[in-house]
């Protein structure tokens, strides 16, 4: 990769302080404070309408905040127009100008910045190599595939050496296979350029796979900020737990502590949990979050019977590399859980109910306040 590494000198942190954005009476962002470190690939993640794109456009200078300040490094850019921010955006629709070919599109920003001809040529060629656009550089946008257009949009932003790179759902217009390919590409390019990059998406897999850190937004507020594993394994609340991936929620009441584990009483028996994001006490109503892939099948090893339950497998969706089971616990009004099994062996036939035991490692169980 060495030859393709481009060193971008400016690496600046981006800081938002109490930023609020209203559209009319509608609050798109509600008092958001956030620091994005220099050189970090930071993700804004959330369902549609959560304000993540608005946040990105505020950083780009395409919107003005209703209140609050935005800093690039020590520079207050709140009232600076987008054209003077050097925070360059890759638009969701790519926004490639159809009357220019790929190279002209890429070169445009350099012309506006009055970079001299030879230097501009050199940088355009370099970035074309970086995004591997070579044979398509002379094509017009409408002669290119989605993936190629995506590369041009990326190149157009990168070539001006932005202070920070802003990506607005860059992969949402691509088909599934291409999306995977470009995901890897973008990660490579971000790492190679060492840029501060802010990336908006609603796809948590995209975020988990590329992000250094990420923020989950909902209704204009930040729910949680952290590294991918933190958000996945230690969600702060029910929304984050649910949004980061499939999970089972089981209602219960805290009974107390047991060997530094939290004991929660549920309709199917007591469950021991290893983590709770906030202080709790006996009697608190809570939900227990158990991710489907943490559920194991088969009788417990003799020395431990923690979190082992008798269960029956009701239904199975076979997906090849894994199977998604629906298992029910208990006797009375039964509780159904989703459980994933990698390299699956037990594939229930129609109507056949298999009796088994499931186990959940307390370390994998999170207790969340209801």
């Amino acid at each position: 990769m060495g030859a393709l590494t481009i060193h971008f000198h400016p690496m600046i942190p981006v800081r938002l302080e109490h930023v609020t954005k209203k559209f009319g009476s509608q609050i798109a962002l509600d008092d958001v404070s956030l620091t994005i470190q220099a050189g970090e690939v930071f993700f804004l993640l959330g369902p549609s309408g959560c304000g993540k794109s608005t946040l990105l456009r505020l950083i780009a200078g395409l919107h003005q905040p209703t209140s609050g300040r935005i800093y690039f490094g020590d520079r207050d850019v709140t009232s600076i127009g987008t054209e003077h921010r050097n925070a360059v955006m890759c638009f969701q629709s790519y926004a490639l100008w159809p009357h220019m070919d790929a190279r002209q599109n890429i070169r445009f920003g350099l012309e506006i910045r009055k970079i001299d001809r030879t230097e501009a040529d050199r940088r355009v060629e370099q970035v074309i190599q970086l995004v591997q656009l070579g044979p398509f550089a002379h094509k017009k946008p409408n002669e290119m595939s989605g993936g190629q257009q995506q590369r041009v949009a990326l190149a157009r932003a990168l070539v001006v050496k932005p202070d920070c790179l802003l990506l607005d759902e860059p992969l949402s217009n691509l088909d599934a296979k291409l999306r995977l390919e470009m995901r890897t590409e973008i990660r490579r390019i971000c790492r190679a350029s060492g840029l501060t990059a802010i990336y908006v998406t609603h796809d948590q897999k995209e975020a988990l796979s590329i992000a250094d850190r990420m923020a989950v937004l909902n209704f204009g507020k930040i729910e949680q900020i952290g590294r991918p594993q933190e958000l996945y394994l230690k969600p702060r609340n029910r929304f984050v737990a649910h949004f980061m991936g499939e999970t089972n929620f089981i209602d219960g009441i805290v009974r107390g502590m047991k060997d530094s584990l939290i004991e929660v009483q549920t309709s199917v028996g007591n469950i021991l949990a290893g983590y709770c994001p906030e202080p709790i006490q006996s009697g608190d109503r809570v939900v227990v979050s158990v991710r489907p892939e943490t559920i194991r099948f088969g009788p417990a090893p003799s020395h431990s019977s923690l979190n082992a339950f008798a269960a029956s497998v009701h239904d199975t969706i076979y997906l090849g590399e894994m199977a998604q089971h629906v298992v029910s616990l208990g006797t009375g009004p039964s509780l159904e859980l989703k459980a994933f099994e990698l390299n699956p062996k037990r594939v229930a036939r129609d109507g056949a109910v298999e009796q088994t035991t499931i186990r959940i490692d307390p370390e994998d169980v999170v207790v969340l306040k209801n």
Partner: protein
């Protein structure tokens, strides 16, 4: 649509088109290139270019076209841009009023224009000057008048092109540091170029071949007026045919060049706009500045027509060296409506326009069906053919129809049969030719609106109907037509409005007073010594009110889609 039905329709439509459109043009070519013995000759063609008066006429016409087009761009582009960018007080009203001048033919406005800008007219009285605006610059008068009538076409095209731009296109430029005029020049302008060029082409051809305005303004050294004057010699003198042919070639070439350069109507945007439109509320000085600009343009554009209105209410001689008439009277209206020619002309125009709109609807919808809903290989050609009348000047068509009528009238069978005579000889009864001429000229608008309607209507809606057992015709009647009705009504209203005030064909084909349409009557009244000008104005006002109502209705029904009809 079944393939056989489509084929039959295609053949019928192509046949109809050949007879009503290609044949008249063929007549002109024939008369211009063959001498009395039927030998091919270039001597008429060469004759045109050797005659300094004809050459001067051509040069003047080109000058009119260029001047008008530039003026139209100067008015239309900024207006469209402002309307696209800003929300301001009275926007929708202004947008509707802006379109009104389009259907008020400049030649009616010319009557008021002379009152306003004449040496003893309103403007001089207001400013205390005695400049002879028109006398010293008939050219200026002609292009200003035409520009004030034609800018809506460009405005609509540019507005549609601007609306089609994904706002992210410009945001991306801003985001890279490009703003203001540079952004307009490097991004916005290239993106709207196809729309600008399409509108500009129509305006250019229209101005190049406009007959009414120079006629009333007495700017006689231009080709359309020369051709009109040569009418007296038709049949004997082949030079007018050659002259008309030159006009035809120039117009078609221009149209073709435009199509070649911008093969597609517009750049297909890569994806639908992902961001909300970038319309901002005008604030500060813009909040009143922009409405002021719109109001000013509307006022100036309607000034000639205001002149017509005032003329129609002023007793003879009461509007002389004053800003407005010193007295008002309704006398001209009662006199005009009492005049034989006037009453019959209103009836005639209504009849001709209604019949031609009916024909238009029938043909337009059929063409649209074949083009959008069938797989007939040659459907593209049909579409292109239906749009061709835009490229062919009205005066050329009128000349062609006239020559067909002359030919038909000389056939023995027609000479002897009264009924055939009243059908084919315009000297007896021009109804057939006028209806066909009106219909052919306005067909492109009808086809565009019908095509747009069909394209917006998913074919699955029709398939669902067929799937439930409905026959083809039932589906068309119960599903398709109701869905595209708004488009059809709007297209029909426009076609109707244009037909009501059509100039070239009306002036040339209507030759008996009892078959005069409104426009020819206005022209004839205007020629009358004494109160003619006032009667013409009164009739003009009647027509304008009627048409303004029509186009306002059409723009309300079609809303923002209005532009789609005028895009070629």
């Amino acid at each position: 649509m079944k393939n056989t039905t489509a084929w039959i329709l295609w053949v019928v439509l192509t046949g109809l088109f050949s007879v009503t459109f290609l044949w008249p043009i063929g007549q002109i070519v024939k008369q211009g290139f063959f001498d009395a013995e039927g030998h091919l000759t270039l001597k008429y063609m060469i004759g045109v270019f050797e005659n300094p008066i004809y050459v001067e006429g051509l040069i003047n016409s080109v000058k009119i076209a260029i001047g008008t087009t530039i003026l139209v761009c100067l008015i239309g582009v900024p207006l469209a841009w402002l309307a696209n960018r800003y929300d301001f007080a009275g926007k929708s009203l202004f947008q509707a009023v802006l379109l009104v001048p389009m259907i008020l033919p400049p030649f009616v406005g010319a009557i008021g224009f002379t009152q306003m800008f004449g040496q003893y007219g309103a403007v001089n009285s207001l400013l205390g000057l005695s400049v002879d605006w028109i006398g010293s610059g008939q050219y200026l008068g002609v292009i200003v008048l035409q520009a004030l009538g034609l800018y809506p076409i460009l405005y609509l095209n540019v507005a549609a092109a601007l609306a089609n731009i994904d706002p992210a296109m410009e945001q991306a430029a801003e985001n890279l540091g490009c703003t203001g005029l540079t952004k307009f020049r490097r991004i916005t302008l290239p993106l709207i170029m196809p729309g600008l060029f399409a509108g500009g082409t129509i305006v250019f051809i229209w101005a190049f071949t406009e007959l009414g305005t120079p006629l009333i303004m007495q700017y006689n050294r231009c080709t359309p007026v020369q051709v009109f004057d040569a009418l007296k010699d038709i049949g004997k003198d082949p030079f007018p045919y050659a002259l008309v042919f030159v006009m035809l070639v120039a117009s078609v070439l221009l149209y073709a060049v435009g199509k070649l350069i911008f093969g597609r109507n517009s750049y297909a945007m890569q994806s639908k706009a992902a961001t909300a439109s970038s319309v901002v509320r005008a604030e500060g000085w813009r909040a009143w500045g922009i409405p002021l600009v719109f109001a000013a343009i509307c006022f100036v554009a309607l000034l000639p027509h205001l002149g017509v209105v005032l003329t129609s209410f002023s007793p003879a001689g009461s509007w002389y060296q004053t800003v407005i008439p010193t007295e008002l009277t309704f006398h001209h209206y009662s006199e005009a409506l009492g005049h034989d020619m006037t009453v019959s002309s209103i009836g005639n125009s209504l009849l001709f326009a209604s019949l031609s709109v009916f024909l238009n609807l029938l043909i337009g919808v059929s063409v649209a069906f074949v083009v959008v809903r069938s797989r007939v290989p040659l459907r593209g050609m049909l579409d292109a053919m239906a749009m061709l009348p835009l490229a062919v000047p009205g005066i050329v068509m009128a000349f062609g129809y006239l020559s067909i009528s002359t030919w038909a009238a000389n056939l023995p069978a027609v000479k002897e049969n009264e009924w055939l005579k009243s059908l084919f000889d315009v000297r007896t009864n021009p109804t057939l030719f006028l209806v066909v001429a009106y219909a052919v000229r306005r067909l492109p608008y009808m086809v565009r609106s019908a095509v747009a309607g069909l394209q917006q209507t998913s074919v699955t809606l029709e398939e669902a109907s067929a799937n439930l057992g409905a026959s083809g015709l039932t589906t068309v009647r119960r599903i398709t037509l109701p869905l595209i009705l708004a488009n059809l009504i709007a297209g029909a209203m426009l076609a109707f409005a244009f037909s009501m005030l059509e100039v070239s064909d009306s002036l040339m084909l209507a030759q008996r007073a009892d078959y005069f349409p409104i426009t020819k009557t206005i022209y004839e009244l205007f020629q009358m010594i004494g109160t003619g000008k006032y009667l013409a104005s009164a009739l003009g006002v009647w027509a304008m009110v009627f048409l303004a109502t029509t186009i306002l209705g059409a723009s309300l029904i079609l809303g923002r889609k209005m532009g789609a009809i005028f895009r070629v």
